[in-house]
């Protein structure tokens, strides 16, 4: 084939992949390595002490505040993931199974639009919605549903969960939708022809086949939410702050980058370990189901 003149396929591919690949290595892999390295250094007032030390990690694990923030962050991210994926599944199912094929892309477009619009302003608006004199309380008071404003929905972990579940909704819907679209519809017919009811067909055929999408949704929500500091800052109140707020404070306010780096490493390792466990458990579960 004349298209293969001169260079071999492997060389051509490598040459093309080189610019984005090198960019990712230089600006992602190397910086991540630098964070890891920095976490083993220490800050001595204004100078950086470059001798290897475990001081930051000792401090991180012995200081109750850091562990409290980490534990809370994992709980909040876990709750956000659970809520987001549970709310998202029926939507993905609806669009995949009940919307006419030519309408599907319109639905997906409508679902993704809020995700692309200014994140900062969306978070701030949740503060307006959930506040003491907020939209929700005024509305509920107006229709006589409640007698006094609800206070458990702002400046605490609940507010963080609601706001993040809103922000990450499309991220959960899309992978589940893609997995559902791939399901061969004749399998569902076969299941019904063989006498299974709608519910059994769903739990024994649809759900196991949609599992890869659900796992992708879990990971794509769980991992980024741990790093959010805007939502806790705006709607979380003092008891809704997360580990990312502490990382940000260490870097930008306390000028203790090594401590911030150590906390970032600990947060990322915790999230990765939990994610790995989720993947392993679901893999085992779906194998047993099959």
């Amino acid at each position: 084939m004349s298209a293969g003149q001169g260079l071999s396929e492997a060389k051509k591919g490598l040459l093309l992949a080189a610019p984005p690949g090198l960019y990712a290595i230089l600006l992602l892999a190397v910086p991540l390595g630098a964070v890891l390295l920095l976490s083993f250094w220490s800050q001595d007032f204004l100078t950086l002490d470059r001798t290897f030390t475990l001081k930051n990690y000792r401090e991180a694990f012995s200081e109750p505040l850091y562990m409290l923030l980490l534990g809370r962050s994992l709980l909040i991210s876990g709750a956000v993931t659970l809520v987001t994926v549970l709310l998202a599944f029926p939507i993905a199912y609806f669009v995949s199974f009940h919307v006419r094929p030519e309408r599907k892309s319109l639905w997906i477009f409508l679902i993704t639009i809020p995700f692309w619009t200014s994140y900062l302003i969306r978070v701030f608006l949740w503060k307006v919605i959930l506040g003491y004199n907020g939209v929700l309380n005024t509305a509920l008071l107006g229709v006589g549903f409640i007698d006094e404003p609800l206070t458990f929905i702002l400046y605490n972990a609940n507010a963080v969960v609601i706001t993040l579940a809103h922000a990450f909704a499309p991220f959960a819907i899309l992978p589940i939708f893609v997995a559902l679209e791939k399901i061969d519809r004749s399998l569902l017919e076969a299941s019904r022809d063989l006498g299974e009811g709608t519910v059994r067909t769903f739990t024994r055929v649809t759900l196991p086949l949609a599992m890869p999408g659900v796992v992708a949704a879990i990971l794509i929500v769980f991992i980024p939410t741990i790093g959010d500091y805007v939502t806790p800052d705006l709607v979380g109140g003092p008891n809704g702050l997360m580990i990312a707020n502490m990382i940000q404070t260490q870097f930008l306010k306390l000028n203790n980058a090594p401590m911030g780096a150590a906390l970032a490493v600990i947060a990322m390792v915790s999230v990765s370990v939990i994610s790995l466990l989720i993947v392993l458990v679901t893999m085992r579960w779906s194998r047993r189901g099959a």
Binding site: A3, E9, A10, G13, L14, L16, A17, P20, G21, Y23, A24, I25, L27, L28, V30, P31, A34, V35, L87, Y93, F94, F97, H98, V99, E102, S105, I108, F109, I111, T112, P114, W116, T117, S118, Y119, L120, I121, F124, L125, I129, V135, T138, A139, H166, A169, L174, V178, I220, I223, P224, T225, I226, G227, D228, Y229, V230, Q248, F251, A257, A264
Partner: protein, 275 residues
């Protein structure tokens, strides 16, 4: 009514509509308060005004932030789309050693918390290289997080491109460069435009990375963040947010139109969504 319900998935359809309301609630509230004649962001509404919008023009810091953000968004979109073109072509067309890990690494920012991207670049630029922060450092970060989206969009363009068209051009004596320009480029142009628009929108709205990497000139979201601390500035922020969201929706709609045009050109069935 019950016939309509069962046809459209019954209660699932009702749930879907309620869910859309939940998704759009903040976006609908934004213009509501932006045109509300009150300095307090709360109900009941006080009357109609365009005061907050006219108040936007007289703020030099805001004009500066808009310029900075536009410069960063345009540059990041161009860089991310260029890198995305290389990655998508390499990924769809060629087999080469280390393909999996390289492609995987390029897509990693999609799931990485943005604070990690911000912190890691900050460490390299400030702590290790000792360079000053500027708009360029924000561009470096934004290009990194926009590239995976560009790759996802352009992958779809390349997958729907018929390779025999390129082969025919080569057989008829065109060089690889002229083949790209005359055959490939026009066919994937809708994808390129969609990628530029999406990357531009992501960069324009991005706050977390910009907050870490911005220099003396703040981006628009960083400026908005600084204004959220002052209650009397909130109506102006609402007006600004309304413009920003309207601009984002226009660009996303254009991107979606481009994506569909691209699919039509390639004669492919629409499977929905960018990702």
């Amino acid at each position: 009514m019950s016939g309509w319900l069962s046809k459209r998935g019954g209660w699932l359809g009702v749930y879907a509509v309620v869910y859309l309301v939940f998704l759009y609630a903040p976006i609908f509230l934004l213009p509501t308060f932006a045109f509300n004649d009150s300095t307090v962001i709360a109900f009941p509404l006080q009357g109609f005004t365009t005061e907050w919008f006219s108040g936007l023009s007289g703020v030099p810091a805001l004009t500066g932030a808009v310029k900075t953000s536009l410069l960063i968004a345009v540059t990041s979109a161009l860089l991310a789309t260029t890198l995305g073109l290389c990655a998508a072509r390499a990924g769809v067309r060629y087999r080469f050693p280390g393909k999996g890990p390289i492609m995987g690494l390029i897509m990693v920012p999609l799931v990485l918390p943005e604070i990690i991207v911000g912190v890691s670049l900050l460490v390299v630029i400030v702590s290790i290289l000792g360079l000053p922060l500027s708009s360029w450092t924000v561009i470096l970060g934004h290009t990194l997080i926009c590239t995976p989206f560009a790759v996802a969009i352009l992958n779809a363009s390349y997958q729907s491109l018929d390779t025999s068209l390129e082969e025919a051009a080569i057989d008829l004596g065109e060089t690889p460069v002229s083949t790209f320009r005359l055959i490939t480029l026009p066919l994937i142009m809708p994808g390129i435009i969609a990628s530029l628009l999406i990357s531009f929108t992501i960069s324009l709205d991005e706050f977390i990375i910009a907050f870490f990497l911005t220099g003396a000139e703040p981006t628009l979201p960083v400026y908005i963040w600084s204004q959220l601390r002052f209650p009397q500035k909130l109506p102006i922020v609402m007006a600004l947010g309304t413009i920003l969201v309207a601009a984002s929706i226009v660009m996303l709609t254009l991107a979606e139109i481009m994506r569909r045009r691209g699919l039509k050109k390639a004669g492919k069935k629409d499977t929905g969504g960018f990702l």
